[in-house]
């Protein structure tokens, strides 16, 4: 159904709805950005101004000066998130291939098992994990956080990658086998390159989930120098004496930029990855 078939009235309604959706989606984001460049006294103005009259960089500058030490949090986030992506991918891809292509006895049970891990509330697993890490001296370490992240990025990655591998025609693999390739060569030289869009989508998801996660890094680290951005924000902005909204919004912008950027760049793969599972049936 194209626009041409709609009456004028319907077109007007559609237009209004689109405007409403745009305001609904973007007004909070605009407010976040505009507060981050408003001087502190203006933030407490009553009535609040919609447009920052004297924009300032002071909140962003203070992010590095103050106890927030945002560059440390940022670096920790980058290290843990990218490492998780690499680790998850390295473990999930072979597993997804096995579940997709090979026939073996426990295949169905393992598939269901992997998916059901998605259901587990993280906070329940956090309690024994915290005590275990305490014993193994894994608290306040990158390895500890990366492993913890992998616990919830792995099942989803396997599920997504499996869907993408399913869509690679078996005949390609079979003819390669007939031509003499070993299974390993088939996986690395044929299937892997063909599923690059799916891999990109999975990587973005893993990165997103790791970057945004609050619970695990918050409880598995107590040294501020090892915290990632989300718990770093919690640490920095709930002080006793006053609420630094400007600084909090500036930090929010910093936390959001990498993910939004990554997302905008690869949104096609991102969306395809999301929807693939739904349409499989």
């Amino acid at each position: 159904m194209h626009l041409g078939n709609r009456t004028i009235l319907e077109r007007i309604f559609l237009f209004i709805f689109v405007i409403i959706f745009i305001i609904w989606t973007f007004f909070p984001i605009y407010w976040m950005i505009s507060t981050s460049i408003k001087p502190t006294l203006n933030i407490f103005d009553l009535p609040p101004k919609f447009y920052p009259k004297n924009p300032t960089y002071e909140h962003y500058v203070n992010l590095q000066k103050g106890s927030a030490r945002i560059t440390i949090f940022f670096m920790n986030s980058v290290i843990t998130s990218t490492s998780t992506v690499v680790l998850s991918l390295a473990v999930a891809f072979p597993a997804a291939y096995a579940l997709s292509r090979l026939r073996f006895r426990f295949r169905k049970i393992i598939s269901i098992g992997v998916l059901s891990i998605e259901m587990f509330p993280l906070v329940v697993m956090l309690i024994p994990l915290y005590l275990l890490y305490k014993k193994l001296h894994l608290l306040n370490t990158y390895q500890g956080i990366i492993l913890a992240f992998t616990s919830f990025t792995l099942p989803f990655s396997i599920w997504m990658l499996r869907g993408f591998i399913d869509s690679v025609p078996k005949e390609i693999e079979e003819s390669a086998h007939i031509d003499g390739c070993s299974r390993l060569q088939i996986i690395t030289r044929i299937v892997f390159p063909l599923t690059v869009p799916g891999i990109a989508a999975t990587c973005i998801y893993t990165f997103l989930d790791s970057w945004n996660n609050l619970l695990f890094p918050m409880m598995l680290t107590n040294k501020p120098s090892m915290k990632t951005l989300p718990p770093g924000m919690v640490l920095a902005y709930v002080g006793q004496y006053k609420h630094d909204w400007g600084g909090m919004m500036a930090a929010s912008v910093i936390v959001s930029i990498p993910v939004v950027l990554a997302f905008v760049l690869v949104q096609r793969y991102f969306i395809e990855g999301l929807t693939r599972g739904a349409l499989k049936g």
Binding site: L41, G66, I79, P94, Y142, V234, V238, G239, Y241, K242
Partner: protein, 426 residues
């Protein structure tokens, strides 16, 4: 391709391992770790780091590693770090923190770490608040009783006499009503903390006492007495009449004071320092002229109560540098440099009697004098016990329920009592 990936993972693991290994230690230098919230707060960060830097200059073999923590979380963090086997050497605490940590067996007694001369110099009623089973476990740094601040200009404007601030809680409520009738909506009548923290109970305890309520007496815990009910009714009606903003921490009312939109404050002597850090156009003289200090409005007999709000420092048992830790504590609490550049600057009361004698500046500050002369003596000790958190948290959550729902106060209080009884039994 898979091989390259595995290699990449290995490299990242090794790199991160080495990053965690951290920097090298210089030989002969003792590093002690200090857990505190002052280095995390904007208004106190500069001064406290400056004092610590001076300490390091005077003691070149000691380096202080400052660990920030949010005030609301300082006790939880100390407990978590202690449990992770990685506690700091020194930690700042507020209120019941020292006793809680001491009961967990995690603190070193200060009786053995400090000279008797220093210990005798501390104000006894503050120092004795840290007694557990006959031994002291913390050094008070800043006794911070909560006093009653009244804005003289606004009082005049609404027809109240600034020379006669309300004396009992009932006078106070009438004054609040009078002010509310005449002031526009953006004025907040008084500062009141209704968050759900252990600190909230401590802060509001003087008000409970003003209504004659004593919910925790020794082993008996009763949150269903008629006096407690009266107190809860007072909180509920105060909010309904829009005297304060609900769910805000005590500190979140300070920007209002800086904007002259607050009529009555309940805060410590350090309020001026904080207000000035929010609005640097307010001079000390202006502040002292605008705000008067009196004890918190008391009960029907005129007896006043206050919350000690002591901030202090503790040494952990597992610290291997207790002597260095004690040196740091003594410097922070009693050195001239610290007193001048941190305590006086913030408007804190000193912890030692000799400080009052050595530094006449303390007596020049009218707010400080008013606190020392009229507020300090109204401090009543809080009924700390090992399960303090488990007992008071249900109650402050109950107060939140009372001011945010339409449930009857009786039903909320009986729920609270049941929870508290269950917590005690466990």
């Amino acid at each position: 391709m898979k091989k390259n990936m595995l290699l990449g993972v290995l490299v990242i693991f090794l790199v991160s391992l080495s990053l965690y290994a951290g920097g090298t230690q210089e030989p002969g230098v003792t590093t002690i770790r200090l857990l505190n919230w002052f280095s995390a707060e904007d208004s106190t960060r500069g001064p406290v780091l400056d004092v610590i830097a001076h300490f390091e200059n005077e003691n070149p073999q000691i380096k202080v590693d400052v660990i920030d923590v949010d005030f609301s979380e300082h006790l939880n963090q100390a407990i978590i770090m202690n449990n992770a086997g990685d506690p700091p050497d020194v930690a700042a605490y507020e209120g019941p923190g020292a006793v809680t940590l001491a009961l967990m067996g995690s603190l070193a007694s200060t009786d053995d770490l400090f000279s008797s001369e220093f210990q005798n110099d501390l104000f006894k009623n503050s120092y004795d608040l840290t007694l557990v089973k006959g031994k002291h476990y913390a050094i008070p740094w800043a006794p911070g009783p909560i006093g009653f601040f009244y804005q003289r200009d606004i009082m005049k404007r609404v027809g109240l006499d600034p020379k006669n601030p309300p004396n009992t809680i009932y006078d106070f409520t009438n004054a609040a009503a009078k002010a509310r009738k005449q002031l526009p909506e953006d004025y907040v009548i008084f500062q009141y903390d209704t968050t759900a923290r252990v600190f909230t109970f401590d802060f509001t305890y003087p008000f409970m006492r003003a209504f004659g309520a004593m919910p925790i007496v020794g082993d008996k815990v009763d949150f269903t007495s008629p006096e407690i009910k009266t107190y809860c009714e007072w909180v509920r009606s105060s909010l309904e009449n829009k005297y304060f903003l609900p769910g805000k921490k005590m500190g979140q009312f300070r920007p209002l004071a800086a904007q002259d939109r607050l009529v009555f404050g309940f805060d410590g002597s350090y309020l001026r320092g904080i207000v000035q850090s929010i609005n640097d156009k307010i001079t000390t003289e202006q502040f002292n002229n605008t705000w008067g200090v009196a004890p918190i409005p008391g009960d029907k007999n005129g007896k006043h109560y206050s919350y000690g709000g002591d901030t202090g420092l503790v040494v952990f048992n597992s610290s291997t540098h207790k002597a260095a830790a004690a040196k740091l504590i003594q410097y922070l609490v009693n050195s001239d440099y610290s007193l001048r550049n941190f305590s006086i600057f913030q408007g804190w009361q000193p912890a030692t009697k000799s400080a009052l004698e050595r530094m006449p500046e303390f007596n020049k500050d009218p707010i400080m004098v008013a606190f020392i002369q009229t507020v300090t003596e109204t401090v009543t000790p809080l009924p700390y016990r090992s399960d303090y958190g488990d007992i008071v948290l249900p109650f402050v959550k109950g107060v939140q329920e009372i001011i945010t729902t339409k449930r009857t106060i009786d039903s909320v209080l009986s729920d609270v009592q049941r929870q508290v009884d269950a917590a005690i039994k466990q």
